[in-house]
Amino acid sequence: MRVNRFWLPLVGFLVLAGVFFVALKRAPTGGGERLVQSVLIGKPASAFTLPSVLDPAMPVSLADFKGRWVLLNVWATWCVECRAEHQVLLDVQREGKVAIVGLDYKDEDPAANEWLQRLGNPYDAVASDPEGRVALDYGVYGAPENFLIDPNGVIVHKHIGALTSEVWRRDFQSRVDGAS
């Protein structure tokens, strides 16, 4: 079997097929939304100061929480999945391991207030971001999104989609516990 150019198509094809096989083996089940791995992991969380949802005269800054672990939760009243994760946030608040800072994304304060009153307020501070400017800074493209920021202000994890207790334990709590 002399190696000549006639082998090229077959070899090329088998290489391609191999690549696809590897990809399929690695693929998670299901399609739908492609998860975007955050490029911000490992980078310092962007500083911000926004008015609080509860009281516009009160500023909320990320810097207020320096030295603590922070769960930055991007949410909105128009977001269906946020409703689902609300209970998980309340549970996390009860555990008290991290500070929870809410970022109310492209929402309206009255509606947000009504929501928190009705469902409970899990946040140590909740900032109002009606124009989504801070969210843009964090590479947010929808709600809910959750960031884990370490005591030095570095983003160590991002989760797109609702926070479940399993995700919290596996991806967030483990990192908090692991570091201490």
Partner: protein, 655 residues
């Protein structure tokens, strides 16, 4: 009861497909006449069973049998009948059955219409098609059974995605399937030739009409999809370089190269290797398209629900089929050397450049399409590739191609030497230049420096295509169907070029907020929002707006876009309104209600948009015409000498 029968029929069909594959391939190999003779009946039996199975599925959809998972998941009793039928293939399982049905139809057609093929060769072709059928039937029964029952009874179905509830979308998939599944015939012919160890001009002559017809259907299918996207999605985009759109463009490009390459093999026994690879390639990319849409490797508007398990099954099947064919190629291709010669500007040379450029275009699109996926799994981060990449890179190979089309048409076989054609070409080039500049600059204003190039090429191709036929008609000579077909197709290409160039460079669009009575000026037209009124359809409610379009003091069109809310899925959908004539398309799409009766609209004026569809239609018509040429129906005497070694002559008196 009926669906169970349908499933049973499918199982039998699969068994027959295996039989067909066995008899078709082993028969000639063992020179067993009885086995060879058994192939055609297996084909017929499989066809009947497949039709029956498909019919039972359609019946289930039409009669709202919601105990079937497919029907419950994709249909609804409020859905009009014709959409219920379309829903049969509007989802993964049903579309797989449809794929199998289409393959069966093509197989039966080959069995019925190629009596003049040597029996052994025909058996091999049917055998290869049998392998394909068997594989797909196995896959469908094992992983994608359309007849699966639900374990509970639902009162009604989830409904067909409203975006799919549209006439064009009922025929777009069937046309596409007939097209790209049809390339399986060329693939089977190629495999049969390789199995036999014989590939000559006669073989090319047999393969051509099948390939051309398949190509024609694919052209229509792609054009329909594009047309649908254009008027349904509302912002005038007709090609988004979506991964699945690309997946179906690639077989089309290779198919185009194939029909041209077959012409060379037919005429001069050259390009055998190219033709084989193109035949394998066109169908391979068809299979690849099938795989990509269903496996979750690509996410796209078109993707069916992703499932890596299915993906692996299909991929394994692909490796067997394509790998097998390419292995046959390794075995046989070295024997296909021809000793024919040709010159630099001969027709063969131009068709060589044609092949090369189309293959380059295919590879470029393939690279761009696969890049995000590759980047992901190689751990190089996320990447996305869209129109800003594909548009320029596609043109890199297309522009030279279009230029060569105009010239190549006049090149003679073997020696070339354009001779007198040179004068004709220069005159047509000059005329095209004048017309092109007049159009791009004079009529439409120079918005884009590429526009004159596009119009020049478009006109040149059209003029160049018409020279010979008109000359022949003037001399009162007849035109064969092949020549008519070729002319139509190339003129269609020219029109397509003109249309795309103009509509993309000279279009105008605006987003405006209008209160009733207000108007907006755009591209020389005035769009006046008159009023809205409520409307109702068979399964939706709508708000319809009246937008009066005028030019100067004349009323030109009344556009009535709608905002529809479909009852079942509760989704809102905007129906764009179009005002079409040869010169331009006017589009109006409703955005959102802004309160107090005001609405936001997107308005567009797209010059010469119709040329796109006309061009595509002519191309398809040309293909159809060419396929009906007499020479394909004449008895062809196969060469007596061994065609592998010598420059094969068709020997017989065929033109």
């Amino acid at each position: 009861m009926l669906p169970e029968l349908g499933q049973f029929a499918l199982i039998l069909a699969m068994l027959l497909a295996f039989a067909q594959a066995f008899f078709g391939i082993a028969g000639p190999a063992r020179r067993n006449e009885r086995w060879i003779a058994a192939t055609a009946p297996a084909v017929a039996g499989q066809f009947v069973l497949t039709v029956f199975a498909f019919a039972t599925l359609v019946y289930a959809f039409v009669h709202n049998d919601f105990t079937l998972r497919s029907v419950a998941g994709h249909s609804n009793s409020a859905l009009p009948v014709y959409f219920r039928v379309a829903a049969t293939w509007g989802h993964h399982e049903g579309s797989m059955l449809f794929w199998i049905l289409v393959l069966s139809i093509w197989t039966v057609a080959v069995a019925a219409f190629s009596r003049r093929l040597p029996r052994a060769f025909q058996a091999r072709v049917l055998g290869v098609l049998g392998v394909l059928s068997a594989g797909f039937l196995l896959f469908t029964l094992a992983t994608s059974n359309p007849f699966e029952r639900l374990d509970r009874l639902l009162p009604d179905g989830v409904d067909l995605n409203p975006v799919l509830q549209d006439f064009a979308l009922t025929i777009h998939p069937p046309m596409l399937y007939v097209g790209y599944v049809g390339f399986s015939v060329a693939f089977a012919f190629a495999c049969a030739a390789m199995l036999e160890g014989k590939l000559d001009q006669t073989w090319a002559r047999w393969t051509r009409p099948w390939t051309t017809v398949a190509w024609m259907f694919l052209t229509v299918g792609i054009a329909l999809g594009s047309w649908w996207a254009y008027y349904e999605l509302g912002w005038g985009g007709w090609w988004a370089w979506d991964p699945v759109e690309n997946a179906i463009l690639m077989p089309w490009l290779l198919g185009t190269a194939l029909i041209h390459s077959l012409a060379v093999t037919d005429k001069r026994g050259l390009f055998k290797s190219w033709t084989l690879l193109l035949a394998i390639g066109a169908f391979s990319f068809s299979l690849l398209a099938t795989f990509l849409v269903r496996s979750g490797v690509l996410t796209s508007v078109h993707s069916f629900a992703a499932d890596p398990g299915r993906g692996i099954f299909i991929l394994s099947f692909l490796v067997v089929m394509i790998g097998g064919a390419l292995a046959l190629y390794v075995w046989r291709a070295p024997l296909l050397r021809s000793q024919a010669g040709f010159d630099l500007v001969s027709r063969e040379a131009f068709l060589l450049y044609n092949n090369i450029l189309l293959v380059i275009a295919t590879f470029v699109i393939f690279g761009g399409n696969m890049a995000p996926f590759l980047s992901d799994i190689l751990g190089l981060g996320s990447l996305s590739v869209g129109p800003p990449y594909f548009n320029p890179t596609f043109l890199v190979s297309m522009i030279p191609l279009l230029a060569l089309v105009a010239i190549g048409m006049h090149a003679r076989w073997k020696r070339g030497n354009l001779g007198e054609s040179r004068r004709v070409l220069l005159v047509s080039l000059g005329t095209a230049l004048v017309l092109g500049l007049a159009m791009a600059i004079g009529i439409y204003g120079l918005h884009d420096v590429r526009a004159p190039l596009g119009t020049l090429l478009g006109f040149w191709i059209i003029l160049s295509s018409l020279v010979d036929p008109i000359d022949r008609l003037r001399r009162r000579l007849s035109l064969s169907a092949a020549v008519v077909g070729m002319t139509l197709a190339h003129v269609g290409l020219g029109l397509l070029t003109l249309g795309i160039t103009t509509t993309e460079s000279a279009r105008v669009e605006r987003d405006v907020a209008l209160a009733p009575g207000q108007s907006a000026e755009l591209g020389g037209y005035r769009f006046t929002f008159v009023k809205t009124e409520a409307a109702e359809g068979p399964n939706y409610d709508a708000v319809r707006a009246d937008v009066q379009v005028s030019r100067g003091d004349r009323d030109v069109a009344l556009l009535q876009p709608e905002r529809r809310t479909y009852w079942v899925q509760q989704t809102a959908l905007a129906e764009a309104a179009l005002g079409v004539n040869f010169r331009r398309d006017l589009l109006a799409t409703m955005g959102e209600s802004l309160g107090k009766g005001a609405w936001s609209f997107r308005l567009q004026v797209r010059p010469l948009m119709s040329l796109l569809w006309l061009g595509a239609a002519l191309m398809a018509l040309g293909g159809l015409c060419a396929a009906t040429d007499r020479r394909y129906r004449q008895a062809v005497r196969s060469t007596a000498t061994d065609p592998l070694a010598s420059p094969a002559r068709a020997g017989s008196a065929v033109t």
